[in-house]
């Protein structure tokens, strides 16, 4: 009974709760048990069982009084430990935030809380969301619930690796993620779940620990596209506390899932066909095209000519912003302080010990590309590339409604692989980064398996603030693929 509860989707749980077939406390307890059993995956940094059970009980009480707050009421979720949570340790998976307990709740987690969602705990991530394998966390690497054919442990992808592993491992019905260059979509693909990065500005960034402010965007990580639509509806909305938050109403995303994509135009960008791409991924992409065609969509070849510069531009813009965003972790007001003989010594000791290697690397890259004499050659040029990439998409969307691509260039790889070569690691983001730079919505839907039986995702990209069309197409893709998570990660 309990393990069955952890298999429910949000939509199913909503119906069961409404019908009185189960309670939120039962659901929550089932997930708390699963979390305990699954601690070996290291998906959570902090478990919050007392908070969870209290909120579950509150939800059940509301429902008993006929005051249900909506489809998320009573749904147990994981919260990426990049979202500040009031009175709950918030780490960004970094040593430098040791003991940091915020006095405030991020807008996204507050929106979910106000919608009745039950927080199970804070999920693991790459330190400050910098990574594509969830191996840079100060709190240890996260393991993918899927295993390699030879039994080896796999990475869950990153940076929202803990959230992806928690959802795939049925230790949360859904989880929040953040996506800067692919940090929702790539781990979703690696773990066989759905992950959506909405349009930049759709979800407030207030209270979410910043990595790269012009790119960071929160989104849902769920088992299904329908769940993503439901959860995004609860997360999104204009927030006057975030100047970059869009003053746009939140539509009923679930209502967009009509299953009817007849006549929609799907773009296939030729620049995403990379030399040496895993044949299984190419085959899956082709299969995706066939599925959508069969559903009545029109397939169009398109060109996004500046795609090849996206990764390079991203790895200038994101570190540049990060180098300033992370300057506040100086040991003066909160978190770790390692004393020194002078203020500068204290800074050096604190930041030297407090930040991991990858974070330090990006801060250095960022400071370098912004420094006098290099600013024009790197930062300004990268911004120009960014504009060109956005223009590519704008032009493409004159002819097509959405774009279909693979999510990642490979399936999940083994822990320990690619670790010595940061550039090889950065290549994980090659398909996700362009839409991030353009601020556009994208979703990864699990669509098939690699030769080794590991999940692979397909990505749907859409127009700015047109998450509805993206979700509608993703829903059709999901139905066609018939992917089942539970086949991979045990019954």
């Amino acid at each position: 009974m309990m393990s069955d509860l952890t298999k429910l989707t949000i939509a199913q749980a909503r119906d069961k709760l409404a019908a009185g077939d189960c309670t939120s406390v039962q659901l929550t307890q089932a997930f708390l048990d699963a979390m305990e059993a699954g601690r070996g995956l290291n998906a959570y940094i902090t478990e919050t069982p007392e908070i969870a059970l209290q909120r579950a009980k509150d939800s059940d009480d509301r429902r008993a009084n006929g005051e249900c707050l909506g489809p998320m009421d009573g749904i147990p979720i994981g919260v990426k430990d990049l979202f500040c949570t009031e009175d709950v340790l918030t780490t960004a998976a970094s040593h430098i935030l040791d003991g940091f307990v915020p006095a405030y709740e991020s807008t996204v987690s507050a929106n979910l809380k106000n919608a009745g969602a039950v927080m199970l705990g804070k999920t693991n991530l790459d330190e400050f969301a910098m990574g594509s394998a969830n191996i840079t966390s100060y709190y240890g690497e996260v393991k993918n619930p899927w295993k390699a054919a030879d039994g080896k442990d796999l990475v869950p992808g990153g940076s929202s690796g803990g959230s992806a592993a928690a959802v795939a491992g049925r230790m949360a019905m859904a989880a929040t993620g953040t996506d800067t260059g692919g940090s929702i979509r790539q781990p979703a693909s690696f773990c066989g779940i759905t992950g959506m990065k909405p349009t930049y500005g759709r979800c407030s960034r207030w209270g979410t620990i910043a990595f790269a402010s012009s790119l960071d965007q929160a989104g849902p990580m769920t088992q299904t596209v329908r769940d993503a639509a439901i959860m995004l509806g609860a997360m999104a909305g204009h927030d006057a506390k975030d100047s970059t938050s869009a003053p746009i109403d939140v539509p009923d995303f679930e209502a967009a899932l009509t299953g009817d994509i007849k006549g929609l135009k799907i773009g296939i960008p030729k620049e995403y066909k990379m030399d040496g791409m895993d044949p299984a991924i190419q085959a899956l992409w082709d299969q995706g095209i066939e599925w959508l065609k069969a559903a009545g969509a029109e397939i169009k070849d398109i060109s996004l000519p500046h795609t090849k510069y996206a990764l390079a531009a991203y790895y200038i813009v994101a570190p540049a912003e990060a180098s300033a965003n992370l300057a506040r972790y100086d040991g003066v007001r909160y978190g770790l302080r390692v004393p020194g003989d002078s203020l500068d010594d204290m800074y050096q000791n604190t930041r030297g010990e407090g930040f991991g290697e990858e974070v330090q690397r990006r801060i250095l890259i960022g400071a370098y590309v912004l420094s006098s004499g290099y600013y024009d050659a790197y930062y300004i040029k990268a911004q120009k590339v960014r504009t060109l990439i956005a223009d590519d998409f704008k032009k493409a969307y004159e002819d097509v409604d959405v774009i279909l691509t693979p999510t990642a260039p490979s399936a999940a790889f083994a822990l320990g692989e690619k670790q010595e070569d940061p550039v090889a690691m950065y290549l994980n983001d090659v398909f996700t980064v362009p839409a991030s730079l353009a601020g556009l919505p994208g979703i990864s839907v699990p669509a098939g398996l690699s030769a080794d039986g590991l999940p692979l995702g397909l990505q749907i990209l859409g127009r700015a603030f047109d998450e509805e069309t993206v979700l509608k197409v993703a829903d059709v893709l999901e139905s066609s693929a018939g992917f089942t998570l539970h086949a991979g990660v045990g019954a």
Partner: protein
Amino acid sequence: MSYLIKGETCDWEVVIGLEVHCQVISKAKLFSGASTKFGGAPNTHVSVVDAAMPGMLPVINEECVRQAIKTGLGLKAKINTTSVFARKNYFYADLPQGYQISQADKPIVGAGTLTLDMPDGTSRDVGIERLHLEQDAGKSMHDQDPKRSFIDLNRTGVALMEVVSDPDMRSPEEAGAFVRKMRSIVRYLGTCDGNMDQGSMRADVNVSVRPAGSDELRTRAETKNVNSVRFIQQVIEFEAMRQVAIYDDGGEVVQETRLFDSQKVETRSMRSKENAHDYRYFPDPDLLPLVFSDEFVAEIKASLPELPDERKARYVGEFGLSPYDAGVLVAEKDTATYFEAVAEGRDQKMAANWVINNLFGVLSERGISITESPVSADHLGELLDLIADDTISTKIAKDVFEAMLETGDAPGKIVEDKGLKQITDSGAIEAAVDAAIAAGGPQVEQYKGGNDKILGWFVGQVMKATQGKANPGQVNKLLKDKLDG
């Protein structure tokens, strides 16, 4: 007039540019809702945004934008309807974000002009390069503990306007006039309180020297955070001498940042160009470009008060005041307000004379401002009325004024109580005149002998006899009539 330093080989001219930081008058900070009140207990006016807690974001305070536009208009400057906030990156304990949000290549206000009013009554225009908005830093206190420094974040994030002048000034006096005029304008506008002693206005002073008559711009040294007009002038004097001495010795002035030691009255090197910060400016991705409409600017422009330059022109043109007197009266908004209350419906020149020649002396003697004046504008006006309608003479009026200073009483009451009302009864005056002529035998002879000046002696006698209350015009006329007749 020109300020030249005598060097060994030539005379040197000093070239001065100022960067004046003005704390914006607003209830809340530039990017947070925390109070801007001065003087709170340490760290009591701090929001989670000011303290740069993780995940916190800045949101622009529209009131600060209005204030900057207002100030820009007061400087007759170009208002940029699109401007960009940038991060200026450096580490310091009282800078919680690790960067200051400022404006770099796209400031809210562009080129403008500020007119200097020099002590000799002449004016001179100084170019304004730009005005931009930025956050103030907190305060480090190094004297609270032998080993540690304490940080007060109350000031962190308060809005500053940085006004950058062109290098158009050539003497300490001009620099002083610039700062005073700047202060006058922001006080008229209500955009900054201009209180240099509280640090709400302070200047970075850029100084270089060049051979007199040359138009080159030599390497400058920047002295940071100078917080009084006198100190600014001392910095310029010291720097000019120091730099001329370096050139005289065949050396080169190095570009550097210097600090002013007001005790020793000298500047000292803080950091050289090699050690200069690389601030790594880049557009703040947390903030969209600041965009407003021309209508927004027009609306603010329509609400501008009369500014010192226009007011001065009015005093000269309409009231017939000298440019110097007009300049003195408009320099402080409160003074001008006081003056206008006194002058309203009265002889403006007379009002100006009384304010400048009588009241100012008392104020400066007592070290108080015009808002603390012991004589209200209403009372001073009443005094002028008493003179105008011949109730008292100008001479008696000075005594009444003294009494007003002492008691704070209305002049009419003082005149009444002390019986100072002017004697205009010709019978009483004639009696006193006759008595004076009778008593002054030798003086009558002198007058008849052609010494007109001796008339004053008779006037004095009459005044003495009437306790100064006789109408001087009548006394003069009667005396002349009788002596000549």
